[in-house]
């Protein structure tokens, strides 16, 4: 069997990737997809240095990202499209002085997810994944539409219970449900315009949805923090967590299922997968929920990329896989096994590193005003958006922020903003995108 890469190279490149991931991912707004695209664009000589090692560099970075990005979402209320379901419990814990506990629970889930991913993929996965791929590949649109429909159907009316008459109760409850539908379709149209029209410059094409996601899931929360003039209690930074073993097992199980669905089926994100995973594994309680988010994110991001390494499947899922696959696609069993062990190694390193970053951020927030931190984050997000996408990006960011707010006003799931990603793809899959382009006068 031909060997393209030595174990030392694997180690070196995956650790370099993980260093990149750990350094940037805890900061708000830095998504690993954009970061890797920037590396490819800005340092092509670094990438071509050893193309066989590039997949390990990306793998290391993605693993580190899926661990360290929990910092931004926990402490700074900035999440990405896969994380939106985690905001509420993490905010609650943070307000109780237990932000570090959330991170620890998340990391336990992430480590569990990484271990499962590695062991499953290296053993049963090599037989199961090709079967699943061959069986389901003609039905992707069905699965996607079914998941989106369930997202609407399962919306739980949180208000209306205390109104005096039945009609009023119904009206208030349905305001939330219809608010979700409104946010989904409005975000969808925004995503459609961003994707199919030349609003953004070509150089920013790799990050065309970045201003939208920063607006939906980041900026709207940061501004909310600013408006509510939130103050944080002193954070407990002890490395211990009281939870039940079954909560961890249940959390990892629902995360693995949810993340697995999201990693395998195109366009379904980690958050949507986690919703289904939670229903299948009957996850209950905040602890289980946070653990499941950790597992789901690792499986979603890392699992999607790992599919590229699997010789029996070699499925390209996720932006990183597409980016790496365009330069070099791993081919041999050795490369696959190396990747499997890389996952365990980098996951362990990321676990420890994220724990220390969490402590440092936690202590920092005890001495700096949360309002000031939120202000810095807001300015940073605007600057980042401007640097990546220019002035039009700022405009898109503003509209997306307003939509993120709208979801909060309707008290509905912020995940409906994912319409920006889902609707254009759905229209494309069903061959109806031309119709909308005509309606918008873009054709």
């Amino acid at each position: 069997m031909e060997v393209f890469i030595s174990p030392l190279d694997v180690l070196l490149w995956s650790l370099t990737g993980s260093a990149l991931g750990l350094v940037f991912s805890w900061m708000p707004g830095f998504h690993i997809y954009n970061l890797l695209a920037l590396v490819v664009l800005l340092a092509p000589s670094f990438i071509t240095l050893n193309p066989y090692a590039l997949p390990y560099f990306a793998l290391g970075a993605v693993i580190a990202f899926s661990f360290a990005s929990s910092i931004a979402s926990t402490y700074l209320s900035v999440a990405d499209e896969s994380m939106m379901l985690m905001l509420f419990p993490s905010q609650r814990y943070l307000m109780l002085g237990k932000g570090h506990k959330v991170v620890l629970l998340y990391l336990i889930g992430a480590l569990g997810g990484a271990l499962f991913l590695s062991v499953f993929s290296l053993t049963i996965g090599i037989y199961v994944m090709p079967v699943v791929y061959n069986l389901f590949s003609p039905y992707y649109t069905w699965v996607l539409v079914a998941v989106v429909l369930f997202l609407f159907l399962s919306e739980w009316p949180k208000e209306g219970d205390r109104e005096e008459t039945g009609f009023k109760r119904l009206l208030v409850a349905w305001r939330q449900i219809l608010g979700g539908v409104f946010v989904f379709f409005t975000s969808g149209i925004l995503g459609f315009i961003t994707t199919y029209t030349g609003l953004l410059p070509v150089e920013a094409a790799y990050a065309r949805l970045t201003p939208l996601f920063i607006g939906f899931f980041g900026m709207s929360w940061v501004i909310r923090n600013l408006l509510s003039r939130k103050t944080l209690p002193k954070q407990d930074t002890r490395d211990s967590v009281e939870t039940h073993f079954t909560a961890v097992v249940n959390g990892v199980a629902s995360g693995v299922i949810g993340g697995g669905i999201a990693a395998f089926f195109p366009v379904i994100t980690g958050g949507m997968g986690a919703l289904i995973g939670g229903h299948i594994a009957s996850g209950k309680g905040d602890d289980t929920f946070v653990v499941s988010q950790g597992a789901a994110r690792v499986i979603y991001y890392v699992g999607a990329l790992f599919l590229l390494f699997m010789p029996t499947a070699r499925v390209t899922r996720g932006a990183v896989a597409w980016l790496i696959g365009s330069i070099y696609t791993p081919k041999t069993w050795f490369e696959f096994y190396y990747a499997g062990f890389t996952i365990i190694l980098v996951a362990a390193i990321s676990f420890i590193a994220t724990l220390y970053i969490s402590k440092a951020v936690s202590r920092l927030l005890s001495v700096i005003s949360y309002v000031h931190v939120s202000l810095v984050v807001a300015v940073f997000l605007v600057l980042l958006t401007y640097l990546i996408t220019g002035p039009v990006g700022i405009l898109l960011l503003a509209v997306a922020t307003a939509l993120g707010f709208t979801a909060q006003v309707f008290n509905t799931r912020i995940s409906y903003c994912l319409g920006a990603l889902i609707l254009p793809v759905l229209l494309n899959m069903t061959g109806t995108s031309g119709m909308l382009l005509n309606l918008l006068g873009s054709r």
Partner: protein, 464 residues
């Protein structure tokens, strides 16, 4: 079963029909309707009936601030009425006089624009009061005091410092509703509101039906998160943790799970007199598992689908209608595995038929097993339909590759189904065993309770 489980069951039903699978493979997505149909019973109940259901008695232990949507709400002293006794509010005013101020008892008078009231803090609540208003309690200071109105031995009202309502309030109203149901012979629906506190946490409380002593007991618990996780050091002191009220008439609890109220929203509980037994029966969330959860409803709703599909010009409308009906029925069947049961076949059956109670202590496993079964059915159907949908393509999973021509194709297909369903079958077997153990445990507990009551009676008559 969780919502997704029902939904997936509906989707699984559509895969039994090859023409529908052919449509799905071609991107014709109408068969997704089967998932919607399987979810429909809960959709109607939880998105419509729940809000439109008539409420006869409202139990609001801690009315919410209308703007902040959290408890407690401010109440003017002059607005305090006997029916507000034990309800959790806060009063705000100026300290007019301090009569007692010690570690175990603090008493002072608060005056607002509408009137004045004596405020009393006992034991642990003295510390609670200190945390709220600080160290200095003196005349002229403006204070905001959470708690509830109570009445002392002389019948004078006073304000009791507290961080939760007194459970007597809830117990009293539930007992009253039971008596009302008995006396009127009509269903009385009690709406119990939950207690939402600042920080998106909820005060948990439990309602216990002691039918043999004709008592309603309510236990006030700690603050919990929306996920049900208790927040440390938020329990209420023992002297205001337990509430009790007696009913005049007999009653019995039908739904075997305890009534616990915390996050999201409080339940509606119906009380209906069973004339044959002369007892009031509890009907947990009466708007749920009624007609919507029946085979009859599944049949009727599916019939409505035919003209809609014909109007849309969908050719395989009959297959889809059949699959949608099966999806709906699957929901009814799956719910019947639990405790509550459903009406099943109205108008032949008029009341909920009790559930089979399989795996009562392992609901998560049962839910997972059902999901697994549905995924297995989908995989099995996709696999066996592949040669028909894509002529020339072999099945992805073909057991005859291992068995050769010795085993016919149909048998190999069935064997695959059995293999796929094995985890579900095993979990369901455990569920049946769990059911038997649970029933045995319930019987033992009832025997122990009877024995305890016997001992109590003997003590009373001097038998010991």
């Amino acid at each position: 079963m969780r919502g997704w489980t029902h939904y997936l069951s509906g989707l699984a039903m559509s895969t039994f029909f090859t023409p529908l699978l052919e449509d799905l493979a071609r991107g014709i997505l109408w068969p997704v309707i089967t998932g919607f149909y399987a979810y429909l019973p809960d959709f109607i109940d939880f998105k419509f009936r729940r809000f439109l259901w008539r409420r006869d008695v409202l139990v609001d232990p801690a009315p919410q601030d209308s703007e902040l949507r959290v408890s407690p709400r401010r109440i003017l002293i002059s607005k305090l009425r006997p029916e507000n006794r034990w309800q959790f509010y806060y009063i705000e005013g100026v300290v007019k006089a301090v009569t007692t101020h010690s570690e175990e008892l603090t008493e002072f008078v608060v005056e607002d624009d509408s009137g004045e009231i004596r405020v009393v803090a006992k034991y642990e609540d003295c510390q609670r009061l200190k945390e709220i208003i600080g160290d200095e309690l003196s005349v002229g200071v403006r204070v905001r005091v959470p708690g509830y109105m109570d009445v002392d031995a002389e019948g004078n009202p006073y304000w009791n410092v507290a961080d939760a309502p007194h459970p007597n309030y809830i117990a009293g109203l539930v007992a009253k509703a039971i008596d009302l149901a008995y006396e009127t012979g009509k269903r009385v629906t009690v709406k119990i509101y939950n207690i939402r506190m600042p920080g998106d946490v909820y005060r948990r409380f439990l309602i216990h039906y002691d039918s043999s002593n004709k008592k309603i007991r309510v236990l006030m618990g700690p603050l919990v998160s929306t996920g049900g996780l208790p927040v440390e050091n938020t329990g209420v002191p023992y002297y205001r943790a337990l509430g009790e009220a007696s009913t005049k008439h007999p009653f019995k609890k039908v739904y075997p799970r305890p009534t616990i109220i915390d996050a999201f929203s409080g339940p509606e509980i119906g009380f209906v007199k069973n004339s044959e037994e002369g007892v009031v029966e509890e009907e947990f969330i009466p708007w749920h598992r009624g007609f919507t959860h029946s085979f009859t409803a599944g049949f009727i709703f599916s019939i409505f689908l035919i003209p809609i599909l014909l109007f849309l010009g969908y050719g395989n409308y009959l297959y889809l209608t059949l699959a949608a009906m099966l999806g709906y029925w699957m929901h009814v069947i799956e719910d019947q595995m639990g405790m509550m049961g459903s009406v099943l076949l109205p108008p032949i059956t008029k009341k909920r038929v009790p559930g089979l109670m399989i795996g009562p202590r392992m609901p998560a496993a049962m839910n997972f097993a059902t999901n697994w079964a549905m995924i297995s059915l989908i995989v099995w159907n996709l696999n066996r339909s592949l040669p028909s949908i894509s002529p020339g393509f072999p099945k992805i999973i073909d057991l005859t590759k291992f068995t050769g021509s010795l085993v016919p194709d149909v048998v190999a297909d069935l064997a695959l189904l059995v293999i796929l369903l094995t985890p579900t079958i095993l979990i369901y077997v455990f569920g049946v065993i769990d059911r038997a153990k649970f029933i045995k445990l319930l019987k033992e507990q009832i025997r122990e309770k009877e024995l305890e009551e016997l001992i109590d009676e003997m003590e009373e008559v001097g038998g010991f």
